[in-house]
Subunit: 338 residues, 2 copies
Amino acid sequence: MSITLDSPLDMHLHLRDENMLSTVAPLSAKTFSGAIIMPNLVPPISTKDELLAYKSRILEATKGHTFKPYMTLFFKPTYTKEFLESVRDELTAIKLYPAGITTNSEGGVAGFDVEELRPTLTAMSELDIPLCVHGETNGFVMDREAEFVSIYEMLATNFPKLKIIMEHITTKESVEALDKFENLYATITLHHLLITLDDVAGGMLQPHLFCKPIAKRPQDREALRRVAFKAHPKVMFGSDSAPHPQHAKESCGCAAGVFTAPIAIQVLTELFTQYSTIENLQAFLSGNAQNIYSNIEIPKKTIVLEKEAFLVPNKYGDVVPIYAGETIKYSIIERKEI
Amino acid sequence: MSITLDSPLDMHLHLRDENMLSTVAPLSAKTFSGAIIMPNLVPPISTKDELLAYKSRILEATKGHTFKPYMTLFFKPTYTKEFLESVRDELTAIKLYPAGITTNSEGGVAGFDVEELRPTLTAMSELDIPLCVHGETNGFVMDREAEFVSIYEMLATNFPKLKIIMEHITTKESVEALDKFENLYATITLHHLLITLDDVAGGMLQPHLFCKPIAKRPQDREALRRVAFKAHPKVMFGSDSAPHPQHAKESCGCAAGVFTAPIAIQVLTELFTQYSTIENLQAFLSGNAQNIYSNIEIPKKTIVLEKEAFLVPNKYGDVVPIYAGETIKYSIIERKEI
């Protein structure tokens, strides 16, 4: 039996820049039709010129593939409506980082003063630009996301026409928030469907599974699985695949991020099959995102998978992927790009 | 102003064997009068011959210092009263590990069937041999110690004459258990007085702060500090200083353990001074242990500290200590051994 998936989308992806971009971008472009590209370069993407230049570099790195990079800006409360109008056609979303919360987020939002944010968020509502949010406070590491839910609620209430995407959710509290506010959506990563803190720090410490937000409790993973496996219409796949060179992961002071892009579709297929919900994978991996991001152009691409062992490489370039050196159960046996 | 401490004791110490033993044992022997030596070698110390041979190797490695290794056996429910009597004079305590819970604990206790344990624990009660316990279940990493409290209660209730030491406690639940059962005691490490999970995984991942039990929440650290700083008579210092070669810490699959032995007394002095409880350090570091382990022989040693910056080496041998390359506030300026 083969499984055919149409136009897979990765609604949260880190491609970085320069050599790393050249290494990782083709790995996503091979199998995904498009991806929301995170803007947290150094410095972050915050002008139209930077956005267009980064887009060109991505297109160059993915040449030969049918792949659409959905570009984002790094949120600043100083963006005016005029500026946003000028960049609207090139922009799919804006990503908000609380200051200092994760890799390259130093220039993010400090404090959440609704009046300071109001002009930009109102303009985004009017221009139908979704707001993607890394939702963590600077509290205790296991509580940061649950504590942030009140900020999501504040944003959702004050800007009811703004589409707010809770990125890479990891807790039952975030899952519960989804159904409370019409304008809240979420992405879910592959690794947060797979692991809990036990996998990161319960046995030996596993730096390649260390990410932000950190993996939580079994009950949290259960809540994520519940909405992902039924393809709850407000959730979509976003890998948050985040490459770091091996030395930055296996060292004193390991960087946050799990690299999943090259095998995400295969492992999602295994997982959804294992839980007898494979019929919902198409919606989780593409359909829901198409509905939520209603005005994006989606290249046609078809991926065919079969249950055939695949040995995951130890490295892609200098990046160690999840399941490095292990065998996963599904392989992509055909890719059709139009 | 100088601070003088008499006969410091480390009531939970890993010295390992061979080259590692030669590297780390003198670092403890320089400043401590004695230490409870953990038996989890490969294979674990479980016969009189092994115990005596290990003791000789330790004495050889600490030659020139006034230092008493308090020897332990690795708990087995097959130890008979006869065997324990034969080894009593050489033995200070027996250490119980739940199977597979930490470094070299594979041969530990699986399940806690009180009737299976009864003969050995009854004999230990009669011979006044304390039971040291690594108290973690195999549950979710943040819950393991709190879940184990019910096992401590079962042991304390069934064996009221047995001295039970809850080793390296990390949670408020364990602190609360201390006052519920007359025969429960505890050791507290330096690192659990210093760090929470935020320090291990809240920013970059810090493999040198990864240990078992893993550091917990701020409220848990607070509970530990409360009893340590007032030198609650049932708690005593046990460093759980656990050396690993650098490559075993900074790699994919990092071993658990924080190496604190060489600077433990200095940092404890800083911490107790900072919290205005320096008058209680002598009891925490020696007096309480002398009362709890009532029949141990304690070599006389005097350590004098002053507030004088000390640059912690990047490594001792191939082992990276806590605060490597950083400056701590207190230095040992004099050691008197008799």
